[in-house]
Every structure is written in structure tokens, then in C-alpha cells.
């Protein structure tokens, strides 16, 4: 199979805005499935609702575009019935952690054998730029016109605490690392959570003084601290600066799995 065959060609072009990071993440995901040589007929994509969740519609294999926040329980049903399928979930930060927050915690606790790719643009893109549980403190959104006054979620920390077997974070800039992380996630039994910090020029950049896509990607890159470096800093007593985040493989473990291949 070729990479192109993983795309539902007759649905392209996609609906994403110019400069949106979601297309990059979809590319990395399908590159990973293709490189691993997954059986397209035994691969299912599941997503909730949001710009990010539209990604399932551009894959050529079976796919479920479900309801807002509920992708994980739908995917759980698929996986429990078809344990020999690779089930990959596309979700957004709002979809996963606001309306779907409880499902997220429980999917990680069950450590069900799914690969979850979260496109975290720190905003609600599809509904036009409202604040999300991942909107940075102080950032402007249409529902936080005076600046966000709630602290954001650290989704990887949630996944780790709740029990996921594999947790990694990258950005839309790190395409090679991201592809490898998704590969590792698919190969690791249990719940794999891959968070991708990404740019939404339309709803986030425009309100937060980042009109250029390149500027947004530069900021993502500049704010990324590799895990090794962060560990060294921590050992030396240097705290993570506000606004920075750790990228890399954060967790890989072998806890008991639900719904895995027997």
C-alpha cells in the first residue's frame, strides 16, 4: 500500500484553513500507519467533533465521525468487538478534555488499546475561537475577551496520572518526531496518548498577536523543551518557565491492557 492510498482522495481538498496545523498531523498519522504496514481493512479511525475531528473523514479506511466529546467511548466499543483492529482516535483539546474529560480519564484508566492523537490548538476552532480548558492563562479568546483567568490542563500529565501506557508530546513543527511517536503509540499495547501542540491561525493567532502562520510555528518550536533537557534542568533545580512545555516521550510502560490482541 502507498501513502496516497491511506487518503480518501475523492474527499480532498480538505476544509482546513490555510496554515492550519491539522493537515500536518493527519499526514504524520497516515505516514505512521503506512510505514508500519498496517492493514487498512483492519484499521479504524474514530473522532469526535471539531476541526481536528474532521480528520477521520479524510482517511480511506473505515471511520466514525461521532458526537462532541464522545470519540473515546465509541472507539472503546469498536475495539472491544474487534480486538485485532488498530483503532486510532483524532480529537481536539476541547473535544477531549472539556466535554469528553471524563471519558478521557476512564479510557486511560482502562488502558484500552487505542491510539489517541490530540490536536491541541489551545482553542475551540470550529465554533469560532472560544476558550478551551487548554487556553493559556491570560490568552484572548471570544469568551475570554479580557484574558483567560483559569489555569490550563496539562493533558499529558492527566493521561499519565490516569494510567495510559504511552504518553508523548510534540508540535506540528516536529513532523519526524511526531510520526515516530505515533508509530510507537500504535505499537505500544494499551492507551497511547500523543498530544500535538498546533497552530490555529484563524481563531487563536488572529486574537493573540500572531497573524503569521510561520510566527505561530516559531513560537511552538521556541516554547518546546526536549524531555532530556527538562530533566536536566529539573535536577539542577531550574523550573520550567511559564508558557514552555516539554516535548518527547513522557511515559512508556507495560501496565495491564484492556481490549488488546490476545
Amino acid at each position: 500500500m502507498t501513502l496516497e492510498e491511506w487518503y480518501r482522495q475523492d474527499r480532498l481538498p480538505h476544509i482546513y484553513c490555510a496554515g492550519c496545523g491539522n493537515g500536518t498531523i493527519l499526514n504524520c498519522t497516515l505516514r505512521a500507519t503506512n510505514e508500519l504496514g498496517l492493514d487498512r481493512n483492519k484499521t479504524t479511525f474514530v473522532s469526535g467533533i471539531g476541526c481536528s475531528s474532521r480528520a477521520s473523514g479524510y482517511t480511506s479506511s473505515d471511520s466514525l465521525h461521532t458526537t462532541h466529546g464522545r470519540a473515546l467511548p465509541f472507539a472503546t466499543g469498536v475495539k472491544m468487538v474487534k480486538p485485532d483492529h488498530d483503532v486510532i482516535v483524532f480529537t481536539g483539546d476541547g473535544d477531549l478534555s472539556a466535554i469528553g474529560g471524563n471519558h478521557f480519564i476512564h479510557a486511560c484508566r482502562r488502558n484500552i488499546d487505542l491510539t489517541v492523537v490530540c490536536m491541541n490548538n489551545t482553542i475551540y476552532g470550529m465554533t469560532g475561537g472560544q476558550g478551551s480548558p487548554c487556553t493559556p492563562y491570560g490568552a484572548i479568546s471570544t469568551t475570554t475577551p479580557y484574558g483567560m483567568r483559569e489555569m490550563p490542563f496539562d493533558l499529558c500529565a492527566v493521561a499519565e496520572a490516569a494510567g495510559a501506557n504511552y504518553v508523548a508530546r510534540w508540535t506540528s513543527y516536529h513532523v519526524k518526531e511526531l510520526t515516530l511517536a505515533i508509530r510507537a503509540g500504535i505499537e505500544t499495547p494499551g492507551l497511547s496518548f500523543i498530544e500535538v501542540m498546533t497552530q490555529c491561525p484563524t481563531s487563536f493567532g488572529s486574537k493573540n498577536k500572531m497573524r503569521q502562520v510561520s510566527q505561530m510555528v516559531d513560537v511552538l518550536r521556541a516554547n518546546s523543551i526536549l524531555k532530556d533537557k527538562a530533566d536536566r534542568n529539573k535536577a539542577a533545580g531550574i523550573p520550567l518557565e511559564p508558557g514552555k512545555f516539554i516535548v518527547g516521550e513522557l511515559v512508556r510502560r507495560n501496565n495491564p491492557v484492556l481490549g488488546g490482541r490476545s
Binding site: 480518501r8 483492519k42 461521532t66 472491544m80
Partner: protein, 377 residues
Amino acid sequence: MTDKTEFLNGNTACAEGAIAAGCRFFAGYPITPSTEVAERMASRLPKIGGTFIQMEDELASMAAIIGGAWAGARTMTATSGPGFSLMMENIGYAAMTETPCVVVNVQRGGPSTGQPTMAAQGDMMQARFGSHGDYSIIALAPSSVQEMFDLTVKAFNLADRFRTPVFLMTDETIGHMREKVILRSDVEITPRHELVEGELPFRPGVDGVPGFGTFGHGLGVHVTGLTHDERGYPATDSADLHEKVVRRMVRKIEDARNEIADVDIVNPDAEIVFISYGAPTRAVQQLLADYPGIYGHLNLRIVWPFPDAKLGEFGAAKAFVVPEMNLGQMAREVRMHTNVPIVTAAKLGGALHTVAELKHAADVAATATAPVTEVVL
């Protein structure tokens, strides 16, 4: 294999019916008075190659059975009123995506958490109209433990035949009462009409129902709750397409009312006719036994789509009496299809109608002239 006769409660018989029908995936969340369905499935499914999962809530349970259905299993969940309310968004998704699945609602007193251990029939309109938008569903109403078994089997067959969520609208009385039940070993199973290569996953076949594109068959089916074209691709901007899609999905069920209808008709020449479903059917049956040959009875085993043509079988009817454990939800539907006066005999709180109460309602009906008369029991 031979039939087994057992003395079971209704909820357990429902679980056995599901297993006999080939249900191999159950996802649920505990709620009184439905929990025995889940408990029986939890103990039985792993032994026969099926899967049980207790989800974090009812939204997740409904989502999981839809996912499981696309993965190829016959799937079911069971709940009661508050959980049924939580399922509504995903029930609409199942209707829009034409996903066959079965939802059991063992009704209890509402609104809200109401009376957890008492029977009611207060969710009949929610079953029909609870999710947003226009759609149609099928709902069955057992009135005995045997029917809990038999109608659960039937629910799965109807779900596959019409590619729709099907509800078993039962209540605490039937769920918890124990009766002799024959666990049939030779139940009829309607095969799912599978999508074949070259067909489109949302193009209606000869009977208005598209073939089901089970995942894993190499068909690459895309399923979305958005308005979609026959390929299953989102197409949300066309007024014409939306109208066509929604009308087809409603029509595939409404046009089959007569095929779907499942009723008992007793004394069709009677002047006073009872219309009942679920637990009140038992009280009506007792009244008819106590006063033989006087009253007519239309017992509905299918409540949605409402089998309105069956009202016409009672040509001599001067009044219909509708005893319900709600304030007249199905009586309102009966009213839509007849000009014969209707007497509603509503009873809340969980106790069954007594024969004396039904007799009183029948006496009122004998002189009723108003379109709708409510008897106070």
C-alpha cells in the same frame, strides 16, 4: 439444543433473550431498576465469546454500543429514565447513521431521579421524540417475563431489518417480577443485510434500507452524524439533500407501520375497548377474565411506530380506555388517530391499576361524550 424452562425475573429474561438473539456486546451503567440486565450479561457474555463492559456513564454506554455495532456485533445497553435522558444525543446519532442497536429502558417514576424502585411508563414520548431533529424509531413494550425474552429477540431483528435503534420500553414491574419463561433455543434471527461491494453505504436498497457496511470488510465506510450523501460523506449545505435524507429515514419506518405492528386483539365487537401496553396490560387481562365478553382489548407489543390501523378493527367502539402509568402519553397518540371518545386512566406512583379502577374507568367510558375524559382513580 432444547428449550429450557426457568423461573426468572423480567430483566434476567431480557438478558437471556439478547444472548439468544446473538447479542455479543453489552455496554452499560448501573441504574435501578434495570441493573439485573447488566449483571446477567456480565456473567454470561464472557462464557460465550462475548464482551461486557461497564462504562463511566450512559453517554459512553450508548456510544460504545454504536461503535460495537459498526464493528460487526449485535449490541445492547440497558438503563432507566435518567440514563435514557443522557443517551439521547447518541440515540439521535444512531438514528442519523442508521446503526442497528437495542436500548432497554426499565422505566421508573420520574421526572428526575423520582422513584428508583417503583414502576412507571413516563418515558414513552421521550422514546419517540427525545433526541433533537426529526427521526423515527421502533419501540416494543413487553407485558410478561416471557415477552421480555421474546420481544428482546424481536428487537434485535427489527434493528437489523430497519437499520435503526430499537427500544424495549419496559418498567420496574415487568423487570422485577418472576414468572415461568421458556428460553427458546431456536429463535429466529433475521440476518443483517450487508453492504456489498459496489453498493453505496447510504443508498437505500429495494426496501428503503441501505446495506450495512460493517467495519473490517474492506469497504472503507465513513460514518458521520452530519447530514451525508449516499457515500456517507458530509453534505451539510444542501436543503434538498437534507430534506431527502431525513424524509427517507423517517419513511423507512413510518411506511412499514403495518409490517412492524404487533398487537393482540380481544373482542373486536365490544363497545368499550381498552388500549394498553406493558404492565397495565396485566390488569386489563384480569378485568376481561372477571367480566367475560364485555370489553374489548387492544394490547400493543409495538408502541412506536404507533399501529394506528389497528384501531379500525374495533368497528363498534363507543369509547377507548387507555390505562397508563403516566399522565396520558400514549392516549395523546391514540387521540390523533380516532374520533371515538377517549378515557384516560392515569396512575402514578408505581402501583398497578386494580381491576376495580379499570371497571370504574369503563363505567365512565360507557357514558363519555367528551373527546378526552380523565378519570380520577
